[in-house]
């Protein structure tokens, strides 16, 4: 089964391809320049593998949370590719992707993820690995001030392995919640670690058509004020 995974949700941009049982992948830090990096990266991976879009069984995309614009660049590209090649799609959480990486690379079984969400908040989620070696989410993904995280995670095993950019951004509030002594090894989601989660979702029949590839922003309020009385 052949699948292409794409993520542009954070400062990183990454593409991974599972083609004829081989994995091809690229990852690059490219803040503010996903629009020039992403499609050439996809093209180079497909060319390297000798794969046509029409040979794929589906697309997997980073659905957020992360930078609103970055998430939409990734999803815009996925919508265009999926619609043009008549492929179905599955979205994977960026937080869960980093947790999956912690399991696949460092055999961490419990992970708390925190991405710097600006405006003095973090996107966060708590994950543990299941019998199939896939990270499962425990609490709904949320955005909150770092000081509230300790309360949010009440009842769960803490401290555990931390991933994401949130830890270095708010060390005073967060450092007691993770076991890594220094900065987390895993700071950004990488499409390579979306493959396993995404393929599992395809098997479960969770795939949807191109236009239903949609972001999960987690932060759903805008700072704009409504007119009086609205």
């Amino acid at each position: 089964m052949n699948y292409l995974a794409i993520d542009a949700s954070t400062e990183a941009c990454s593409v991974a391809l599972n083609f004829n049982d081989k994995i091809y992948h690229q990852f690059e830090l490219c803040p503010q320049s996903h629009s020039t990096v992403l499609l050439p990266m996809i093209d180079s991976i497909l060319t390297q593998a000798g794969c046509q879009l029409s040979e794929l069984n589906g697309l997997i995309f980073g659905r957020g949370p992360g930078s609103f614009t970055g998430v939409r660049i990734g999803i815009g590209v996925v919508q265009g590719l999926a619609f043009s090649a008549e492929l179905e799609v599955v979205g994977v959480s960026t937080l869960r992707t980093m947790a999956q990486q912690a399991y696949e690379l460092y055999q961490r079984k419990r992970v708390v993820a925190a991405i710097d969400a600006r405006m003095s908040e973090v996107y966060t989620g708590y994950f543990s690995v299941n019998a199939q070696g896939i990270m499962e989410q425990h609490l709904p993904e949320a955005v909150m001030p770092p000081s509230e995280l300790v309360n949010y995670l009440k009842g769960l095993e803490i401290p555990v392995y931390g991933v994401g950019t949130g830890w270095d951004a708010y060390p005073a509030d967060l450092s007691s919640l993770k076991i890594n002594e220094d900065s987390p090894e895993i700071l950004y989601p990488d499409a390579r670690f979306m493959l396993k989660i995404g393929i599992e979702d395809f098997k479960k029949g969770l795939a949807v058509s191109a236009e239903l590839a949609q972001p999960v922003y987690v932060r759903d309020t805008v700072s704009w004020k409504k007119l009086p009385g609205r």
Partner: protein, 337 residues
């Protein structure tokens, strides 16, 4: 040759298919007015969120309306600027990757070039050269057009766009966003001569505009007066009369300066009936003629992007695999074709 056009630069998702010989085969427009009305203006983040929901469904509809599939297309055009960067990026990313997947050329289009060429979608097409007045909620500019990509900026607004002044004054008159068209409706029952608004920057040479003072003048008038229904209409009348007069004075000046007789008007405000009537009048007096697109192609739309894209496609101007959005992009930096 046929091309798909995608417009997402502000608060409207517009999709169309243009055929070089047969013209527009299908077009659809989704307006986000309801999304932004509660805020009294366009909220960029909400605009982007809506475009990413609506673009592909509209493309499906347009292909179905035209009874076409990707195999019938020769290119994909999308607005690459100017506009709201987040909103632009939705159309750019979808348009560029669609073209990649379909193995077709991708054509980034300048939004204002789209507006400028929109009258070419009508039966009565102006010959080059002509003077164009681009007048919308985001822009007010006079351009000399000698050919596609041959644009000389003659003048523009130094502050608010004319459409912006319409919407802001409408808000002062208690009208919902975007209130421009509602203000024009209100002005129909207004009395001529009760209020006299200034004609900004017409007392000096040059072709620049300034409309923010008119909004302030309206605010002061509303503050001073007992605002009954008739007074609302009278203020609306005087305001619209001042904007229309100011635009007309500058259009006439531009035609005389360029020694041209053809005037093109495009952009949302070019749908205003009083403005059309006034410009018909002044061009007639000069022995010239005014050209404009049908009302649905005055506001943002995909048809004008498909048309402008076709001109660039025929000239072989394609994008590489990147899809940069350019929020600020002067019209006169475009290459001639």
């Amino acid at each position: 040759m046929r091309i798909l056009g995608i417009e997402t630069s502000c608060d409207e998702t517009g999709i169309a298919i243009y055929d070089e010989k047969e013209g527009i085969l299908a077009h659809r427009l989704y307006s986000q007015i309801a999304v932004h009305a509660d805020y009294g203006g366009v909220v960029p983040e909400l605009a982007s969120r809506d475009h990413v929901r609506k673009t592909i469904p509209l493309i499906k509809e347009v292909l179905a309306d035209a009874k076409l599939t990707a195999k019938d297309l020769d290119g994909v055009a999308y607005t690459a600027g100017p506009g709201l960067v987040g909103a632009l990026l939705v159309g750019c990313s979808i348009g560029r990757s669609l073209a990649y997947g379909w193995n077709l050329p991708a054509v980034p289009v300048h939004h204002m070039e789209g507006h400028l060429l929109a009258p070419m979608l009508e039966d009565d097409v102006p010959d080059f050269p002509f003077v164009a007045l681009l007048v919308s909620g985001g822009h007010t500019m006079l351009v000399r057009v000698d050919g596609i990509g041959q644009y000389e900026l003659l003048g523009e607004s130094v502050d608010d766009a004319a459409g912006e002044a319409f919407d802001k004054t409408a808000k002062l008159l208690g009208l919902d966003y975007p209130g421009g068209p509602a203000l024009a409706k209100m002005a129909e029952t207004g009395k001529k001569g009760r209020f006299k608004f200034p004609r900004p920057m017409t007392d000096r040479p040059g072709l620049d505009f300034s409309f923010s003072g008119l909004k302030t003048f309206a605010a002061n008038t509303i503050h001073k007066e007992e605002m009954d229904k008739q007074t609302h209409a009278d203020v609306a009348y005087a305001f619209q009369e001042a904007v229309v007069d100011t635009l007309a004075i500058k259009c006439k000046r531009a035609l005389l300066q360029c020694e041209l007789k053809r005037l093109v008007i495009a952009g949302g405000v070019s749908a205003n009936t009083e403005l059309r009537a006034k410009l018909e009048q002044i061009t007639a007096k000069l022995g010239g003629k005014v050209y404009y697109p049908r009302p649905e192609f005055c506001t943002d739309n995909g048809a004008m992007i498909a048309y402008a894209g076709m001109q660039r496609l025929k000239a072989g101007v394609f994008a590489d695999l990147s899809f940069k959005a350019t929020p600020r992009w002067p019209l006169d930096t475009l290459a001639a074709i």
